[in-house]
């Protein structure tokens, strides 16, 4: 009995991964064949990019501030508070900027994609779209996917910049240190591999957020309760995957672009 249950669960998981792979493949390949819905791409870019700006800026700013507070407290034990800027910039740009932006956008947009598409599924709007001769994958999923990837890149850059500013605010106004020294430390020790690492990660995060959000939305069943379930699954799965893929990408990039 127990073995049968394990077998069933394993089969279900494998099937889900297979369905997701086919779904993501179709969503990507749609970009290379007409029709393409550029208006929907711009609308989604506005919703994902402009709509998420405030939360990303605030979370970036306060994360940079917290990093400066924590690092200065530790570094002061070694008389090295002068390198706070270096610590904040490298941590923000390499790691916290991309990951936090990904998780913030996942919370906001993976959930909205899953619930919006899920509601459309349970009210037969997706079937109606198909019946009208319009491919929901092309019309709804592909624009969200590429809008999310491109917007997450810019949002991450903004989060990094505001993180540095948050760190500078704490360094100057709370730790009473020199702002010029903070920024020169932040700038001088930053290398191209750090920036590449920081800009490659949001591409993966954007893909994960949109593909997972749309995937769970489009396979919603079970009415309004099912919509809620899809929303939770989308947020949880995309958040965990963002951190997991961040780990993998970091490992690969550290191997390809090793530190000096």
């Amino acid at each position: 009995m127990a073995i049968a249950a394990i077998e069933r669960t394993a089969k279900h998981m494998v099937l889900t991964v297979q369905d997701y792979s086919l779904f993501a493949h179709r969503a990507v390949m749609n970009l290379f064949h007409p029709p393409r819905y550029w208006t929907d791409f711009l609308i989604q870019s506005n919703i994902i990019g402009v709509g998420s700006t405030t939360i990303v800026l605030l979370s970036g700013f306060f994360t940079g501030g917290v990093l400066a507070l924590q690092s200065a407290a530790t570094l002061s034990e070694f008389g090295a508070t002068a390198v706070t800027g270096r610590f904040v910039s490298i941590t923000m740009i390499r790691e916290l900027g991309p990951v936090l932006t990904g998780i913030m956008v996942a919370g906001r947009n993976a959930s909205s994609m899953a619930s919006e598409l899920g509601s459309m599924v349970v009210t037969e709007q997706i079937d109606a779209m198909r019946a009208l001769g319009v491919d929901p994958m092309r019309k709804l999923v592909t624009p969200r996917l590429f809008a999310c990837i491109s917007m997450l890149l810019f949002l991450t850059i903004l989060a990094d910049a505001f993180g540095l500013m948050g760190g500078a605010f704490v360094t100057v106004f709370m730790n009473h240190q020199d702002g010029t020294q903070y920024f020169s430390q932040a700038w001088e020790h930053l290398r191209y591999p750090d920036i590449i690492q920081g800009l490659v990660k949001p591409l993966f995060s954007g893909f994960i957020i949109a593909s997972i959000g749309c995937f769970y939305g489009m396979r919603t069943s079970g009415g309004t309760e099912g919509v809620g379930r899809s929303t939770i699954q989308a947020v949880v799965t995309s958040s965990v995957l963002i951190i997991f893929v961040d780990f993998l990408v970091t490992q690969v990039l550290l191997t390809l672009l090793p530190p000096p």
């Binding site: 029709p35 459309m120 009210t123 037969e124 709007q125 079937d127 109606a128 779209m129 198909r130 019946a131 009208l132 001769g133 319009v134 491919d135 019309k139």
Partner: protein, 292 residues
């Protein structure tokens, strides 16, 4: 928008009851069917929902699919335009086998059909104008032409004033009428109605049925209509649209629309295929109980 034919088809006297067995093979001079099911079966993680279903819809024909709730009527309708795929059997739509057709090739075929969903399935974030003109917007038809054709379609369902409304501000009956306008705007070659009067009050139901009769008699588009309401089915069969009076009128006593015929499902199987007279005289116990 839709140019009506010169004359609506006249009602004919009901032929004498006879054999009602469906025939998928059209006679040599008959036009090929718009839809043909050949031994279609489908199941969803359990016993078959539909089993060994065979029937066809001829050009200009209106077929009414009767059956109690949960018998697979909506599933059958979704099989017609490939929204669902059968496990066994074959389905011909406009003469093309769609059972194994890739999804991408199905979209142009679906665009030639109109479908009215059970609850309307209007896009709730779009206005009535954008809902009705959805296909035209996707085809990048100029805005002023879309406006004109949407107004024409809304005039047909007598809802021109809802042009700028959102679906949330419409009643259930109005949503169905907007859904009918959306299904008609592209001049479909086949219309599928999924319980268009389900959950509506009798007066609104009659309004919807009148629209369907009007569509049938003015444009003569073949259609497949799913319902569990006998009254609606009989009204469709015993009335015609009078273009001069601009309303639905009953046919003379004893006459029925010759192109409106019935199908009936019981537990996933097709148990009746024939005219109203055959339906009323069938010895099938389930049909008799359903009619009573």
């Amino acid at each position: 928008m839709i140019e009506p034919p010169a004359s609506a088809h006249p009602a004919q006297a009901e032929p004498a009851p006879g054999g009602s067995a469906p025939s998928l093979a059209p006679s040599a001079d008959a036009a090929p069917p718009v839809v043909a099911f050949r031994n279609v079966s489908i199941a969803f993680d359990g016993p078959p929902v539909l089993q060994d279903i065979s029937f066809s819809v001829a050009p200009g024909e209106t077929r009414i699919l009767l059956g109690p709730a949960g018998v697979g009527k909506s599933v059958l309708l979704k099989l017609v335009n490939g929204l669902l795929r059968p496990d066994q059997g074959g389905i011909l739509l406009f003469g093309q086998e769609i059972t194994t057709m890739p999804e991408q090739l199905l979209f142009p075929l679906r665009a030639r059909t109109g479908m009215v969903f059970q609850e309307g399935a209007l896009f709730d974030s779009l206005t009535v104008r954008d809902n009705v003109g959805y296909q035209l917007i996707q085809e990048r038809v100029p805005d002023d032409e879309i406006d004109r054709r949407v107004r024409d379609a809304l005039r047909f369902v007598q809802l021109e004033e809802t042009f700028d409304f959102y679906p949330a501000s419409l009643s259930g009956g109005m949503r169905r009428r907007v859904a009918i306008a959306r299904a008609l705007i592209h001049q479909p070659e086949l219309i599928l109605y999924d319980s268009p009067t389900g959950g509506l009050d009798p007066v609104t139901s009659t309004t919807i049925i009148e629209l369907i009769v009007k569509e049938r008699d003015v444009y003569r588009t073949p259609s497949l209509l799913v319902t569990h309401r006998l009254q609606d089915a009989f009204t469709l069969c015993t009335h015609r649209f009078d273009a001069e009076q601009g309303k639905m009128v009953p046919l003379p006593q004893g006459e029925t629309d010759p192109d409106t015929t019935f199908l009936m499902l019981e537990e996933g199987s097709l148990i009746f295929d024939g005219s109203l007279r055959n339906l009323l005289h069938t010895p099938n116990k389930f049909v008799r109980e359903f009619l009573e």
